[in-house]
Symmetry: C2
Subunit: 428 residues, 2 copies
Amino acid sequence: MLHLQIQNSLAERIGRRHGVSEARLRSFCQTHSEKIQTIFRSKAKPGYNFVSLPDDAANLTKVRKFAEQQAKAGWKNVVVLGIGGSSLGAIAVRDALSSEFSKGPKLYVVDNIDPAYTHELLANLDLKKTIFVVISKSGTTTEPMVLYALVKEALMKKFPKDYQKHLVFVTDPKDGLLRRMAKDEGITAFDIPPKIGGRFSVLTNVGLVPLALAGFDISGLLKGAREMREGLKRSKGMDNPALRLAALQYILDKKKDKVMTVLMPYSNYLFRVGDWYRQLLAESIGKGKGAGPTPINALGTTDQHSQLQLYNDGPNNKFLIFMRVLKHAGDPKIGQVLPEEISFLNGKKMSQIIDAAYKGTSEALTKHKRPNVTIDVPKVDARALGQLFMLFEFQVALLGLLYKVDAFNQPGVEHSKQITKNILRAND
Amino acid sequence: MLHLQIQNSLAERIGRRHGVSEARLRSFCQTHSEKIQTIFRSKAKPGYNFVSLPDDAANLTKVRKFAEQQAKAGWKNVVVLGIGGSSLGAIAVRDALSSEFSKGPKLYVVDNIDPAYTHELLANLDLKKTIFVVISKSGTTTEPMVLYALVKEALMKKFPKDYQKHLVFVTDPKDGLLRRMAKDEGITAFDIPPKIGGRFSVLTNVGLVPLALAGFDISGLLKGAREMREGLKRSKGMDNPALRLAALQYILDKKKDKVMTVLMPYSNYLFRVGDWYRQLLAESIGKGKGAGPTPINALGTTDQHSQLQLYNDGPNNKFLIFMRVLKHAGDPKIGQVLPEEISFLNGKKMSQIIDAAYKGTSEALTKHKRPNVTIDVPKVDARALGQLFMLFEFQVALLGLLYKVDAFNQPGVEHSKQITKNILRAND
C-alpha cells in the first residue's frame, strides 16, 4: 500500500513561518474529518460518483471480453483520439507500465491538433493494423472531432465496406453526436457513466477500453482503487492520508503562501501521473475568487539539475510532493569501473543511488525550510496506480469542500471555446 | 525572423492592476537599454561568452567532418549520457525537428538514473549499432558517470579490443576525469569552451556533437543564433525584443505578483523548448533573496483542457508566453464529414483550427486581465530554434542584471549533492 510521510512539512521541523504545527494539523483534520463521510454519502451525486467506479464488475467483464476478441485481430496500433480527461489517464498508465521497448500493441494517444504531427501520424500508421478509440462525452469537443474527421475519411477510402471495424467510441450512453453516429453507422460504442467528470474518469471506459485493447492490467487498476477507497473509508482525521494531504496543501496555500504544488516522482515511469494530477488539481480547484494552488510537474533526479536551485534558494512559495519507488523493476549494479575521485559509486546498485539523491534533495529542502512530503510507492504496477488515482481524486474532492468551490465544473474554459468557434464560423 | 507581440500585457488593454502601461515600459526599457551593450561588452567574461558561441566556424567544420566520418559507420542509435544543461538543448532540437516517425539514426538522451529504465535500455539497445556521447565538464556529475560505468562495462565485454569506437566524450579541454580517461584510453573527446555555463551551452559541442551525429542541421542552428544576436545588437530600448520581454517579466513579477511564467507553444514540436527554457530561467534567476519567477511548461491546445480553467479563473499570478507557428510542415484539411452541429469544422485546414484556438485562448485571458505575450515563429526549423535560443539566453542574462543576481552560478544545488554523496560514502 502507498504510504504518505509528512514530517518535512511540520513546523517542528521547518519552523512556524513555513511549516504547520502537528497539533494544528491534527485539530484541523479532526474538525474536517466528517468531510470524508460527506464524500462517501454523496457517492450517488454528480461528480462524487467517482467513488463507486471500481465496483462495476459487469462493465469490467464486458471490456475484458471485448479486448480478448479484438486481440485476435492482431492490432499493432491502438490510437486514442481524446483530450484532457479523455487522454491523461491512459497516458499515465501507459507510461507507468510500459516503455518504448515494450512488446505488444503500441498505444498512441493523440491529444492535440498539431497540423504537422497529424500529417506525419496519418502518413505513417499502417491503417490495416490500427484501431482508433474516439473518446468524447458529447461528440462536439473540437480536437477529437477534427482528428476523427480525418481518420474517418482515410478509413472509408481504404476500407469502404467495413471501416467500422477500425473504430470504437467511448461516449454518453444515450445522447450526443458520437452515440448517434455509432447507431447510424454500426460502430461499437462503450458508455461513459452519466454525471462523472472528465478528469475523474480514468477508471471508467475512458481509461479502461483503450488500456485493455493495448494489453494493460485493468483489473489491477480497479483492485488498487478499491483497496485505497476502503482504507480511506476506515481511517479518520489525520490518519486518513487523503485528508492529511488535503489539509496540509490547503493550510500551506492559504496561510503560508505556498501557491504552487510540485509533484516530483523519482521514477521515469511515474512522471506522467503528474500530467494527470495537474489537470485534476487545476480544473477542480483553480476557480471562483482565485482559489487554488498551481500544479507543477518535476522529475527526480533529472530536475535536480534544472529546478532545484530555484526550489532551494528562490522564493519559498512551493509545496513539494515527492514519490519514491521502493522496488524497481530492474536494478543494474555498477562494477569496479570508476576512478578514485568517484569510486564511492562503484559496487552500488542504481536503486541505492537514486534513493540517496532523493534523500539528499528532500533533506536539503527541509534544511531550507521548504515544506515537502513523500509518497512511498512499493512498486510501479497497476495496483499502485489504482491506489494513486483514488488517493488523489479523494484528496481533490476534499480540497473542493475546504476551498468551498465546486470541484466538478470548469466554467473558466467556456469563454475561450466560444471565441474559437466564432472565429471558425466567421471563416466559413 | 521571430516576432514578439506584447499588447496583451499592457495596462491599456488589461488595466493597471495587472498590466504595465506602455509609457512605463518604454521608459523602463530606455533606462536599462545600456544593459544590452553591457552584455556585448562582457562577452569575454565567464558566462557572458554565450554571445560569441555562434562564431566558432573552425569548431563547426570539425564537428561536421566528424559526423560525416561517423555516418559511414552506420550507427542506428546515438545515445547521450548527460543531464541538465548537457541534455535539455539536444532534446529540444531533436523533438522540434524530428518525431518517432522520422528516418535516420535515433537520438536517445538518457538524463535520469532510473534503475528500471536503464535496465530496459541496456537490454534492448543493439550495442553494435550504438554510439554513446558522454557529456560532463568535470566528469564527476553522478548521473552521467553512473550511466557511463554501466555502458563501459557492457561495451568492454562485447568489444574488448575496440570499445572506444562506441564512445565520444564532450568535456573540459584540459581538466577533469573524462578528459583524463579520454587520453588514457584513446577515446575521442570534444571540448566544452571554458567559462560557459551548462544551461547556456546548447550551441557548444554539448549540443552540436550529438545533434550532428544524429543528422540534424547544426549550421542552421548557429546561423539562426547569429541572426538573432545581430538583431539584438542593433535594436535599442523597447525595440529590442530580449529587453522588452525581460522588462515585462521583471515588472510583472516585482510589481504585479506574476510569480510564474508559463511558456505555452501551440505546437507539439516546440513543447520541449519549454524544458530547456525552464532550466535557463530557474537556475539563472531563482536565487539569492528569493528572486525569480517560477517557469511552467504548457502545450496548446492540449492544456486548454487541463490548465486553462486555472489560468483564466484561478489566482491572477501568472505571465504567459505563447508561441505560435505561422507555417506548419504539414496541414491536413477536413473533408465534408462532420454532422450539422459541428459542420463549421468541415472544409477547414488544421492550421486554421489550431490558430483559432490560440486566438480564443489569448483573447479570453486578455479579457480576464491575465498578461500574455506571443512569439510568432515563421516555421519550426533549425534557424528558428537558433533564434529562440539566443533570444531567451539574452533575455535571461538581462534578467540577471535587472534582479541583480549572478545569472551564471547555482549555489542552491550544492547542499543536496553533498548530502547524497555522504549517504553513498557511508554505505561503502
